[in-house]
Each structure stands twice: as C-alpha cells, then as structure tokens.
C-alpha cells in the first residue's frame, strides 16, 4: 500500500463531534497529522459578556456541552457565589455532589461504550449503553430532564430531593453497580478487545506531565492529578472519594480508570443518599458579583477551568472557559504519529473528546 492521505473528520462515523484530522498514511501507518478544530464555535464566551446577565449564566454555560452540563453550570455557580459572598449550606453541597457524580457516571459509561463501538465491538457498546440507562433515569428523576439538567442555580439547587426519589435512586444505583461490574469484566478480560486496545496509544507518565494532560487520561498514565483533591469546591473527601490511577497509559487503561471512577462514584452517591444533611435547598441571594476569581472543577473528562471577572454590573466582564479536551488535544496530535490508522479511532475516542466544549 502506497502513500494515501486519509481525512478523518470533520464528519466520520467514528466521531461523535466535528474535529478534523488529515492523516498521511503509508501502509496504514500514520506519518503526518494535521488537526482542525473549531467547527462548532458558537461564541459562548462573547455571549456571556454581552447578551446574558450574571444570573442567566448557569443556563447559558450549561449549554456549552450536552454531557457535562452539570459541570459547566456548577463551575459558574461556584465562581459567582464566591464573587457575591454567598455561603451555601451542607445540604446544597451534598445535592450538588450527587448530581456531579451521577453526571460523571453517565459520561464515563458513554465514553467507554464509544471506545467499544469504534473497535468494532457492537455488542459491548450496546451492553455498556444499556447499563448507562439506569443512571440517566436517576438523573431525569432528580433534575426533571434527561440531558439539560439546569439543576445548580446561584445560591442553591433547583429542586429538593424527596424520600421517594432517594429510594428510587438507591434501587437504580444498586442495579447499576451490578451491570457496571459485568460490563467492566467484559472490558477487562475480553481477548479481542485487548488486542485492539492494550499497548495502543501509550502515554508515559513523563509525557503526560510534559503535555499537561488532564483527567482520566493523565490518571491512566499514573499521573496523580484530580481537581477533586486539588481544589476545594465540594466536600468530596467526606463521602468517600478516592483517586483512581492506573500505570499502563494505553487505551485499555483509560477505559479501566473510567470504570474504577464509576464504581467509586456509585459508592459516593450511595453515601450521599444515606447521609443527606437537613436544610433548605436554596439560600438567600443578594447583591451583584464583584471582583475576580478562578474556578477549577473536575468534569468527567478532566479539569474544567473558569476565570470570572465582574465589576458589580449585571453583565460580567470576562468569562473564560477552558475545558478538559482543550488540554488534551496537544498530546492527542503527538500520539497519532507512528500509530496504525485502524487504531486512530480508538485513540481519539479513548480521550472522550468533546469538540463543542473545546470550540465553545
């Protein structure tokens, strides 16, 4: 096979969102990569400082991304609460933690399912996605919608959780745990899945540190970084958070780290539901945001960073969003060189890329 230039994206079966890579391949080995991003630039940063007022921002930033809408809304809420000097009570913290962790579970399940799909393992993809339905049901019941949750608001959460919902969630989580263990076993022990993922797209710990990778990608290489441990925005340690790392740094390890985190998150959610503190689900909000602050939150895909600046007006001065995929694109480009074209899809999807986040 001679030299063939293969376009991967901007629309491709394996890609959930538009990003374009142009591969020069020789015998299906990639020798050169060109990347194009920004197909879905919607100007959300500009909208946040012109058209929308500070109290509408959580609803706007929730629409940066469909999967981690809770994270984006949460980050803005934390930042604005800091700028307005609002202290929320323990119950609000716990409810926010609950949805954040449920969001992490469903996003991780989706990412793992996608990896199974692009390596041509349709059945595993179906199993993973079916297991994911339970957590979607729980989120829908708690927040009232399936994709756009709009749960975190300035000074609290949108609605309280009642006893019946808590019971429903506990029941579903128990079933989910069984299913996750089953699906994880398939990912872990399947021979053909291992052939396509083990030793593919390896990132060493040094490389991960050099390119400043974030989230499960860094943790799969053994780099111990997790914003939940590095930034105090919610009391994760109280409910049994443990950092999950793996050593291998390949596609398989990234999947397994995500499964480890899913199991940890299920445990955390069960702890939260068992020890929910009493209190109101909204606190009084007064005044306007003023000053500048930074917020780091752990989105399912890694560190999500917000820089907020306000000067006491209704409209903010600057809202800067840096999303996890943004941090992971530089290393992604390096990984392709020397990889087989048939492995490129698994490498991209193992990063769980979110282009609408990146382009904003």
């Amino acid at each position: 096979m001679g030299k063939i230039v293969v376009p991967f994206g901007s629309q491709h079966v394996a890609l959930p969102e538009p990003i374009s890579f142009l591969f020069d391949t020789e015998n299906e080995i990639i020798t050169k990569v060109e990347a194009h991003i920004g197909y879905v630039h919607r100007g959300i940063e500009k909208a946040a400082i012109t058209r929308f007022e500070y109290n509408q921002l959580p609803y706007l930033t929730a629409r940066v991304c469909g999967l981690c809408s809770i994270t984006h809304a949460g980050a803005v809420v934390h930042g604005i609460e800091k700028l307005m000097d609002i202290e929320v009570n323990k119950r609000i913290d716990y409810l926010r933690m609950l949805v954040v962790e449920l969001d992490r579970i469903h996003s991780h399940m989706l990412a793992n399912g996608h990896v199974a799909e692009v390596v041509g393992y349709e059945n595993l993809f179906m199993q993973t996605f079916r297991a994911r339905e339970d957590v979607m049901d729980v989120l829908e019941r708690i927040t009232g919608n399936r994709v756009q949750y709009d749960y975190q608001t300035i000074g609290g959460v949108a609605r309280d959780i009642d006893l019946e919902t808590a019971e429903f969630a506990k029941k579903k989580l128990k079933k989910l745990k069984e299913n996750v263990l089953k699906v994880m076993e398939f990912h872990d022990s399947d021979y053909t899945f291992g052939l396509k993922t083990k030793g593919v797209g390896v990132i060493s710990k040094e490389m991960a540190a050099k390119y400043n990778t974030a989230g499960p990608i860094a943790r799969a290489s053994g780099l111990e970084t997790d914003v939940r441990a590095e930034f105090d925005y919610l009391p994760f340690e109280e409910v049994g958070y443990k950092m999950q790392t793996r050593k291998e740094g390949d596609v398989w390890a990234r999947n397994m780290v995500r499964f480890d985190e899913v199991l940890n998150s299920i445990e955390m959610c069960e702890n939260i539901l068992d020890n929910l503190p009493q209190g109101e689900h909204q606190v009084k909000v007064k005044g306007r945001p003023k000053g500048e602050t930074v917020v780091r939150v752990e989105a399912p895909r890694g560190e999500c960073f917000y820089y907020l600046k306000a000067s006491g007006k209704k409209v903010m001065d600057r809202v800067r969003i840096r999303v996890p995929t943004y941090a992971n694109i530089p290393i992604l480009k390096e990984l392709f060189l020397g990889a087989k074209y048939s492995d490129a899809q698994a490498i991209v999807l193992s990063f769980d890329p979110c282009m609408s986040c990146t382009a904003r």
């Binding site: 609803y59 009232g144 399936r146 756009q148 709009d150 949108a158 399947d190």
Partner: protein, 168 residues
C-alpha cells in the same frame, strides 16, 4: 470473548429490553420539567420571569397605557424548560406560574391552544408563523415598554405641573 459468547446466547433466549416507542407509549417520567402554565388572575406583573428567562421566551406587551395592562406572551418553542421563571415568580406557590409534568407537543401541523399558555400561541393558527410572529412580539415588547415609560413620565410631569399649578 468466551464470556460475551455466553452472554450473547443468554440474550438470544431472553426478552429484549427495547421500548416499542411509537407503537407503545414511552413511560412518562415523574417530576418531568414540562410546559409552563400561567394564571393571569394571580399575576402581579412584576416582570421578574421576563427578566430571568435565558432565551427570552416570555415577553410582556403593554396593551393599554391608561391602566398599564400587560399581556403575557409565552413561546413554548423557544422555551428551554429550565424552570428559572417559576423559581423567580413571587406568586409561584399560589399557582401563578407552574411547570407541569406534561410535555409540549412538537410543532407539527397544529399549534397547541389553551388559556394557560398565554396570549401569543392562542393568536396563531399556522405553525409556520410562530417564528415571524414571535419576532413581532419581541419588537413590540421593546417598543411598548419604552412608550409606556415615556407615557408614565409624561403623566408624572403633567401631574407635577398640575400640582405646581394647584399650589400656585
């Protein structure tokens, strides 16, 4: 591989989990965030819902400057169903603005009707007109508000003048 082999065999003989959606109804989720219902009798026209609404799907239009009567216009096809307006409404507990658990039907050949949906959608019969008519409402919203403000200002000036005159 072998485990999946056995799993596939098991699945082959067990019941599928698919919901046959268009033929059977999909189970309605409990606590779903559906259409926003409005009750004009309880409304105090504070405009709080209009100000918070992120996509701007609620617009008040002043119809009578004399009495300051406003009409509530709600576009369910612009609404993002976040429920911010209901949380903001001071009379929400009494049922002025409520988010019900039923979904708004998708915009097909007909437009949903009902007093609780406000004035806008009840005045439209052709679904294709929703967008253009809404743009008119948005313009009207800005225009009437400004005119009402000017009217009130003028009235206040008139009153002050009358008062000043009376004092003379």
């Amino acid at each position: 591989m072998l485990k999946m082999f056995i799993e596939s065999l098991k699945n082959l003989v067990s019941e599928p989990e698919t919901i046959k959606y268009p033929f059977e109804p999909s189970p309605e989720p409990k606590g779903y965030r559906g259409t926003i219902h409005y009750n004009e009798e309880l409304c105090i026209f504070c405009d709080k819902c209009e100000n918070i609404c992120p996509p701007g799907a609620i617009k008040f239009v002043v119809v009578d400057y004399e009495t300051g009567k406003k009409e509530y216009n709600y576009n369910p096809y612009l609404c993002i169903y976040c429920g911010a307006c209901v949380r903001e409404c001071p009379k929400a507990d009494e049922g002025c603005l409520v988010q019900v658990e039923t979904r708004t039907p998708p915009l097909g050949r007909s437009v949903p009707k009902g007093k609780e949906l406000g004035y806008f959608i009840n005045r439209i019969d052709n679904p294709k007109e929703v967008e253009s008519k809404w743009r008119e409402i948005e313009e009207l919203n800005i225009k009437t508000k400004e005119e009402y403000k000017a009217y009130k200002k003028a009235k206040r000036a008139q009153k002050a003048a009358a008062k000043a005159k009376g004092e003379e």
